[in-house]
Amino acid sequence: MEAQQYKKLWWDIILATLSFAVVPLFILGGVIYHQFSVSYTAKIKDNMKTLAENRAGSVDLFLDERISQLTGLAHTHSLEQLKDEDYLNKVFNIIQTRSKSFLDLGVIDEEGNHLAYVGPYYNLLKKVNYHGEKWFHEVMATGVYVSDVFLGFRKIPHFIIAVMVREKKKIWILRATIDSDIIDNIVRAAWIDKKGDAFLVNRENILQTTPRFGGKVMEPPKAPDFAAATGTSVEELDFRGETLLYATSIIKLKKWVLVIREDPTEQLTPLLQARFLAVLISLGGVVLIIIGAYFTTRAMMKELMRMEQKKAASDEVAMQSSKMAALGKMAAGIAHEINNPLAVIGEKAGWMKDLLGMEDMDGSENFQELLDAVNKIEYHVVRAKTVTHRLLGFARRMEPLTERVNINTVLDESIDFLENEARYRNIDIQTNYAPDLPLTTTDQSQLQQVFLNIINNAIDAIGKEGEININTRPIKQTNRISIEISDNGPGMPKEVLQKIFDPFFTTKEVGKGTGLGLSISYSIIEKLGGKIMVASEEGQGTTFTIYLPVR
């Protein structure tokens, strides 16, 4: 496989891993965040609702108490008693000691005249007739009246509570002014956090308390119109580009509306923190996955490449042996086709030679020429024959003979053959045999042919002066024998090394080698169930390693 293909595959695997790991991670994060967000928002809304109800209840309670106080006072005293301003003053002082919320107290007859008044604006209010006032008619009609906040004569926000009393045939009204600061304080308790706000509006959407941000009492609030609200509710509303949470609750005694406003971003800070955390964890996960994917795929690719290389190597071995088989077949065919005509040529030449000897042709001027020619023919028939016979040897498919063979002995015999040649060329043959080399069942003479071939090649490669090392070694793990024959000759370049076992490939000069020695050796070793390998480095020498099975 090409490097580019590996890279592409690598990327494919990484991307697949990432998408299969990252997508669920994000989905999980998203779902968890969404669930958290929903429940958290629900909780905040719930809190606001509770707060709104709670504050509205407090306002209600406050108003209720004031009304009760006033009603109680009216019913426990007669008009005669309360008409006396000294007495009223006494009563007012008693009330004041318990609650500062009453600013003044007045007794008004059914005509609207102030019969008695206690409070800071005595001179201003004593002579006022309320007969034309709207609240006067209301209290006459309903018995109890709570006003909206108004500025009145005092020019400060306040509201009044008035109760009507029927005493015998007289009707009179007890009226009190209540400091709206107290209601402000109750509502203000709902100003939570930095941006939270709370205020009261009446049915005309006019502020009854001072809000924290924007607007004043008696003005419309800077908020959506909640005047028509009918009960407790929490909503997220858009007002002048700001999305805020609004909770409303009704003040029952006065039909005011309590509005609590909160900034969701502030309230939802923990949620945002959770979101931040979720994103952070997800990103961390993604980084981990990327690193993991990178390293696992890298390891995988390495393994894949290693296997691919291994496969390529075994493919090469398989190719080499099938190449040998095919070439062997071809060589055998060629040898056969050539041997028969060669036999005829040889016989004809022999017959000619016979004839030349028989006839009395000595005198013929061309006798010697003819004899030479016939001899040459015979010589070259023999030369051609050696080639074809070796080819047949290469192609030989017969079952090898099987005998118990000591490889060390076979090597020694082979060395004996070549010792003279080596000595003559000043080449030292060193042997290093494993003494415990097991015997193996194989074909001794074929093996000898291989050894002779390789050692002979080594001698030829060295030329003059050098060393050949032969060693044997049992390999217990694979139950094989290794035979190493190395020379310190000039070595071979890669191109030569690749073709070294190919038939007819030779580096020797024409006529010296057939180019069949090593290919025959190769097929012999293959047939004997072994393996032959070569390693060579230019300038270093060449090593042939033969592995034979022990059996």
């Binding site: 055998a332 016979d354 028989m358 024959k385």
Partner: protein, 129 residues
């Protein structure tokens, strides 16, 4: 004058003709046959000491012929002549009782040497018999 009688069996006319001429020139009693059938017929009616038998022939091949000859004349020695990758056949021939096998092309003197050895064996075998 050699004392043995040779039969050469080969379908290659040029080869057969020439080897016959050369052997006859050496005063050897020799006959040539170009097929296995003819060789068998000849063996039926004539005495032969050594048979030089080509392995690859059309019709009845050398191995077949060898088998038949050995049935008829167990003592006749046969030298197998192979021209191609049929070394196996040569070996098979030897297992079937052939004296030896020789690969073509072969020098005549070499072949004659084998014939002499084969004849010697035949003589010994006959002595035993």
């Amino acid at each position: 004058m050699e004392k043995f009688k040779i039969l050469v069996v080969d379908d290659e006319q040029d080869f057969l003709e020439t080897i016959l001429k050369r052997l006859k020139a050496r005063k050897i009693e020799v006959t040539g046959m170009e097929s296995g059938y003819k060789a068998l017929e000849f063996v039926d009616t004539h005495d032969v000491d050594v048979i030089i038998l080509d392995v690859k022939m059309p019709g009845m091949d050398g191995i077949e012929t060898l088998r038949e000859i050995k049935k008829k004349k167990p003592l006749a020695e046969v030298i197998m002549l192979t021209g191609h990758a049929s070394v196996e056949s040569g070996i098979q021939g030897m297992q079937l009782g052939a004296f030896d096998y020789v690969m073509k092309p072969v020098a005549l003197d070499e072949l004659l040497e084998k014939v002499r050895q084969a004849y010697d064996r035949k003589v010994i075998q006959e002595g035993k018999a």
